[in-house]
Each structure stands twice: as structure tokens, then as C-alpha cells.
């Protein structure tokens, strides 16, 4: 199976635009590096040797393809047929490794000698550190101090894998600030360093590159649904922070007009409280971290802090292609609260014997609502983007508070 297909519209590679969204809003110092990255990526797409190496690593090292399975007991409880795309079974426990293996291969081609990354939940940091250890490149990861605290196991993993973790204390000390610091490092060390962006966010060509590397999720699961269900799903559901797992699975179904694409953002304490991480549902158009998209901001254009129980969704922006999918109506976006996510988490544990990441739990939390709309004959594919070991402490703490 080819893991890297050319998905983008021909114009995207030139303009980096998804309708009015995307683009390159970065310091002049970084513009040549983005051009260099675009050229290198284009070369790799046309190079069978690169494709073969990527295919081989994803299969033999990362454990692809991942299964799609029918979640029978969850289906019975929720009231529709629910299929799980098991990205939690990827090496490192989440979909993030699909992208990092691709980008680190790309970085080696570009003769970069140092890798930096930002991370929220730590999954992308772990996946980057993993790919760097595999390919012998030094790795430094920027992580908000707040996330270092609530995702301690992933910090330990990154360090064991040989990465240096920088705890970022500026701003809200979460993912947004980690990305600010990574950009500051990159602008300083741009000649030697590749910035391995972890989501479908950032300046062009990152949203395109990350989407293409993650599109393997959608390609595999489309084939698997046809084999196992004998049909395409009625809807595909994924959680959306920056939006990489969602873009990856959506990519496989975007041309199938009858398949509904649904992204679930983090509503935190509730969208009405203002304490949430749902820019598509409740934000406005703005420019953050190099791209135009939906962001959480004040009336005078200051970015506001996001709030979510899930470190990986705790981000006030979202990938520009999601913004375009929202505006065009091809995908719809909704949001569920921290509380609902915890319910979704517990339900999957109890019914299927799978402990999902808190990020992923948001997708599950939306299923009961969707079941009421679609009815028992619907087939719904959910991207099970990551496993939840890293979240045990948070979950147990929160459940104890609930009493």
C-alpha cells in the first residue's frame, strides 16, 4: 500500500491556501526555510525510494496497518454500529508517529542536523523523540510547564528516548506557548534545524505535509470499512485540537460526499463559560502561528488561553483546512465538555476494554448525540487516535473530585 498519496489540489502546493485560510504569516527569516521545506517535500513525493523507506518504516517499525474493528458492546449501549480505527495501537500509542517518521525522513534528506518540536499532551513530543532516536538525530521538545506537570509520564518517556525537554513558563504555559518557543528557537537555528510541527497547523507547507502523512489513517480505514462492513460509514468522527488525526481520517473520505465528517472540539467547562478550546465552534477568524484560521481571541485580536481537561486539545487555534471544511460545510464541528469527555473515557474502558486518550474521549462523548440523529442502522467510524495511559493521573484525580 502506498502511504503517501498526492491528495492536495494542484494549486495548494503553490499558494498554501484553503479558501481564505492558511498562508504563511511568519518572520522573514523563516520564509526561505519554508520554501526549502516545500521543495524538499515535493521531491520526496515524486521519489519512489523515499516512499519505499516510509512505507517500510510505517509497516515494520510503527506497526501499520492498524486494525479497524467493530465495537460491539459500545454499539449496543450507544445504539448504532460503531467502528474503531485503532491508531492507539501504533508504536508510541497514538497517530502522531505517522507524521514524525515522515518528517524526520524529510529532515534527513534536507541534511538538517537538529530537530525541534512542540508538544501539548506529549504524544507528538514522544513520537518525535522516537523517530529521532530511530534515525539518530538530536531532538529538543518544547512543552508548556502546565503540561509537563499533567503529562509527567510522557516527559519521562521523551527523556528516556534521548530528547531534551524545555519546560515553557511564558503565557499560559500550555501548547500555544510551547509553539511560540519552538518558533523562537527555529528562527534562531533555522539553518541547521528542522521544526517538526505536530499538527495540521502552522505556516504552509506544514498543514499540507502533516495532513498527507496522516492521510494513511483515512486510506486504510476506507478499505477496511468496505471489507468488513461492506459499505462506507455514514459518518466519520474524530476529535479536533490542531486537528491532525481528524484531517488524516477525513482525507480518506473527503471525496465520498455521502459520508458525513464530524470534528469534535473541546468545550472545556462549556462553550458558554468562555473556558473552552473550541475555535471552530466559538472562535473567530485570525492569524496564529503562521496561518489564518479560526482562533480564540478578544475583540481586539489578542489570543486568549484555551481550557480543556485534555492537554492535546488545549490550543486556541486549529488547522486552516478544518476552517475551510467548516465554511464549505463539507465537515461539521461540534464540542463536548470535560465532563462529557470523562464519561466517554469511562464508557469505552468499560464496554470495549480500551483505555482511550482524553483527547480521543471527546470523539466518543459525542456518539450518544449522534446516535439519536442517525438511528440504530447507522455505521459510524471513530478515529481512536491514542491510548490513555498518559492520562490516568488526571482521570483518577477528576473522578475522585466527582465523588
Amino acid at each position: 500500500m502506498r502511504y503517501l498519496a498526492r491528495l492536495m489540489q494542484p494549486l495548494e502546493s503553490v499558494s498554501g491556501r484553503y479558501g481564505p485560510y492558511g498562508g504563511r504569516y511568519v518572520a522573514e527569516t523563516l520564509m526561505p526555510a519554508l520554501d526549502e521545506l516545500s521543495r524538499a517535500y515535493e521531491e520526496c513525493q515524486g521519489d519512489p525510494a523515499f516512499q519505499a523507506e516510509l512505507d517500510s518504516l510505517l509497516h515494520h517499525y510503527a506497526g501499520r496497518e492498524t486494525p479497524t474493528c467493530l465495537a460491539s458492546r459500545l454499539s449496543a449501549e450507544v445504539g448504532m454500529r460503531i467502528w474503531l480505527k485503532r491508531e492507539d495501537l501504533c508504536h508510541t500509542g497514538a497517530h502522531k508517529v505517522n507524521n514524525t517518521i515522515g518528517q524526520i525522513l524529510l529532515a534527513k534528506r534536507m541534511h538538517k542536523t537538529r530537530i525541534i518540536a512542540e508538544t501539548g499532551a506529549g504524544q507528538h513530543g514522544v513520537a518525535t523523540a522516537t523517530a529521532c532516536a530511530l534515525m539518530g538525530l538530536p531532538c529538543e521538545v518544547f512543552m508548556g510547564a502546565e503540561d509537563v506537570r499533567r503529562q509527567a509520564p510522557n516527559v519521562q518517556r521523551m527523556e528516556l528516548l534521548g530528547a531534551k525537554v524545555h519546560s515553557v513558563t511564558s503565557g499560559s504555559a500550555t501548547l500555544k506557548d510551547a509553539m511560540n518557543e519552538a518558533l523562537r528557537d527555529w528562527v534562531t537555528n533555522v539553518r541547521t534545524t528542522h521544526y517538526c510541527v505536530g499538527s495540521v497547523a502552522g505556516p504552509h507547507p506544514y498543514p499540507m505535509i502533516v495532513r498527507d502523512f496522516q492521510a494513511v489513517i483515512g486510506r486504510e480505514s476506507r478499505v477496511q470499512m468496505l471489507e468488513q462492513a461492506g459499505k462506507l460509514p455514514d459518518a466519520v468522527v474524530a476529535c479536533v485540537g490542531g486537528g491532525s488525526n481528524a484531517m488524516g481520517i477525513f482525507a480518506g473520505f473527503i471525496d465520498d460526499a455521502a459520508v458525513r465528517l464530524i470534528g469534535v472540539e473541546a468545550a472545556g467547562d462549556g462553550v458558554a463559560t468562555g473556558k473552552h478550546a473550541a475555535p471552530l465552534c466559538a472562535g473567530g477568524v485570525g492569524v496564529l502561528h503562521g496561518a489564518k484560521s479560526y482562533v480564540l481571541q478578544t475583540a481586539d485580536g489578542q489570543i486568549v488561553e484555551a481550557h480543556s481537561i485534555s492537554a492535546g486539545l488545549d490550543y486556541p487555534g486549529v488547522g486552516p483546512e478544518h476552517a475551510w471544511l467548516k465554511d464549505t460545510g463539507r465537515a461539521t464541528y461540534t464540542a463536548v465538555t470535560d465532563d462529557a469527555a470523562l464519561d466517554g473515557f469511562q464508557q469505552l474502558c468499560r464496554t470495549e476494554g480500551i483505555i482511550p486518550a482524553l483527547e480521543t474521549s471527546h470523539a466518543f462523548a459525542y456518539l450518544p448525540t449522534l446516535a439519536k440523529e442517525l438511528g440504530p442502522d447507522a455505521d459510524v467510524l471513530v478515529c481512536l487516535s491514542g491510548r490513555g495511559d498518559k492520562d490516568l493521573e488526571t482521570v483518577i484525580e477528576q473522578l475522585a473530585e466527582r465523588g
Binding site: Y25, A27, P32, T188, L288, Q302
Partner: protein
């Protein structure tokens, strides 16, 4: 010709570089900003870059990040910065370049900002994360209204991008001395200055060197070669450590006078 181009012309006629001073609007508060701009103007600054604070200043080092945070905590908005420019204009004619990030501008509305900035007496825009490719929406209206749009050239810019900046510049080009964020320590200011001088000749536009210029000695290194020199973080730090607005004004007077002393060409 606008006030900014005049300032470069004037400095050239005095056989020196133009001194550009960065101040973060609203740090410590907007009333203080008025006094600080006036103090800089009276102490030898030729141009003021007035920073519009942004929550996520990815091109700035810790000193300017902290200044922006203080300013935002005090309630500074782009609209209030423009009101402040209007007040400054009743006190001094020093050219004022609004300096910042794109999102507050996008949020305000580009055309509306150009109109309001022109009316307030501002002279132009420098937007750190708005490269030429994305700049038409602001640059077009600004140029039409007679306001300057200042492009940047970085050490990584290739000849095509340098040429593009030259074509877009209406008064001067901001030359980033090194790969890094504001307030970093410059590694080789002398080489950067000579490179800037070569680009000035090639492009036929003044270049001002910024990033890593902190002391009178740094200014003296740049001044023989480049048409302008920008000092930001050092000024912001002097304001940060001052105990009161009066003290900050005195500190800025002293620092700017000292920096201006480095402008003389041998």
C-alpha cells in the same frame, strides 16, 4: 516624501546613521508612552518604532515579551495606541512607525487601521509576521494613503526576496542582523553592517539594522555602514527596571543620548 524618509535624509546630510528607538506602547502605561516618546525625540532619536503589543510575540525575546505582557495587562489595545499617537503628535513631530504582529491589525480591519493611523499622525507600519506574499491587504491601502510600509530582510533572505523587499519599500528596509529573536546578543554586528551597506547600494534604499544592537559601541559599529540603527530591547529593559514613570523618562533620556553619541562617523 514622508517624515520617515525625511529623517533618513536628514541623518545622511549630517553624515551619520539615523537612530531608531523601539518602545512598547502601554509599558508601563499609555500616558507614560507619550512622555517616553517625547523624551526619546528630545534626546536624539530620529524615528520611533511604537510597538503594538500582542499576546504571542514569536519574534521577540524575553524583554519585549514581558513589556507586551505588562502593556496588555494594563488594557492596551490598538485603538488606544492610535489615541496615544494623536496625543504624541501634539508634542513632537518625530516619525512614528507602528510596529507589531498581524492579528490585532486583521482584527481591527486593514483599511480602517490605515485610515485611523493616518488621521492619528502615525507614519507607517512594520508587521513582523506579514511577509511580502501576505501583505497586499495592508500595504496597498497604506501606500495609497501615503503611509510607509517597511519590509524586512533577514540573513536568510535570498536575492529574489531581497529584490522583492527593495521594490516594496517606500522609505527604508529593516535589516535583521542575525537569525534570532529581539534582544539576542549579536555575534558579528560589523559583518552585518557591511552586508547592509552593500544591500543599500544595490537596492538604492536606506537600510536600518536591528536585533542585537544594545550599546553606544554597537551603534558606533553600525553607523559608518548602514543608514539606520535600531535599538529596542535595551530601551525596554531600561524602562522595566525604572521605579516610576519619571525615572523611566530619565533613563530613556540618558540611554538615547548615549546611543546617539555613537552615531558620529569618523
Amino acid at each position: 516624501m514622508g517624515r520617515i524618509a525625511d529623517a533618513f535624509e536628514n541623518a545622511r546630510s549630517e553624515n551619520r546613521a539615523a537612530l531608531v528607538i523601539y518602545l512598547c506602547a502601554g509599558d508601563p502605561d499609555l500616558n507614560a508612552t507619550v512622555e517616553l516618546v517625547v523624551a526619546a525625540a528630545e534626546s536624539g532619536a530620529d524615528i520611533v518604532e511604537l510597538g503594538v503589543p500582542f499576546s504571542d510575540p514569536t519574534a521577540d525575546g524575553p524583554a519585549i515579551q514581558r513589556a507586551a505582557q505588562r502593556s496588555l495587562r494594563g488594557g492596551t489595545t490598538l485603538a488606544k495606541v492610535l489615541e496615544t499617537v494623536r496625543v504624541i503628535r501634539s508634542r513632537t513631530h518625530i516619525p512614528i512607525l507602528l510596529f507589531g504582529y498581524y492579528n490585532p491589525i486583521l482584527s481591527y480591519g486593514e483599511q480602517k487601521l490605515v485610515d485611523d493611523a493616518a488621521e492619528s499622525g502615525a507614519d507607517g507600519f512594520l508587521v513582523v509576521n506579514l511577509p511580502p506574499e501576505e501583505s497586499a491587504g495592508l500595504r496597498g491601502p497604506a501606500v495609497e494613503r501615503g503611509l510607509d510600509f517597511v519590509p524586512l530582510v533577514a540573513p536568510t533572505s535570498d536575492p529574489h526576496r531581497i529584490q522583492q523587499a527593495g521594490e516594496m519599500a517606500t522609505s527604508f528596509i529593516y535589516y535583521v542582523s542575525m537569525t534570532g529573536v529581539t534582544g539576542s546578543t549579536a555575534t558579528d554586528l560589523a559583518s552585518a553592517s557591511k552586508r547592509a551597506a552593500a544591500l543599500q547600494r544595490e537596492l538604492g534604499r536606506p537600510l536600518a539594522i536591528g536585533f542585537g544592537v544594545k550599546t553606544k559601541a554597537d551603534v558606533a559599529t553600525v553607523s559608518p555602514h548602514a543608514d539606520g540603527v535600531v535599538v529596542g530591547s535595551a530601551v525596554v529593559q531600561a524602562i522595566e527596571v525604572a521605579a516610576s514613570t519619571d525615572e523611566a523618562v530619565l533613563a530613556v533620556r540618558a540611554l538615547v543620548s548615549e546611543l546617539a553619541g555613537g552615531l558620529a562617523r569618523q
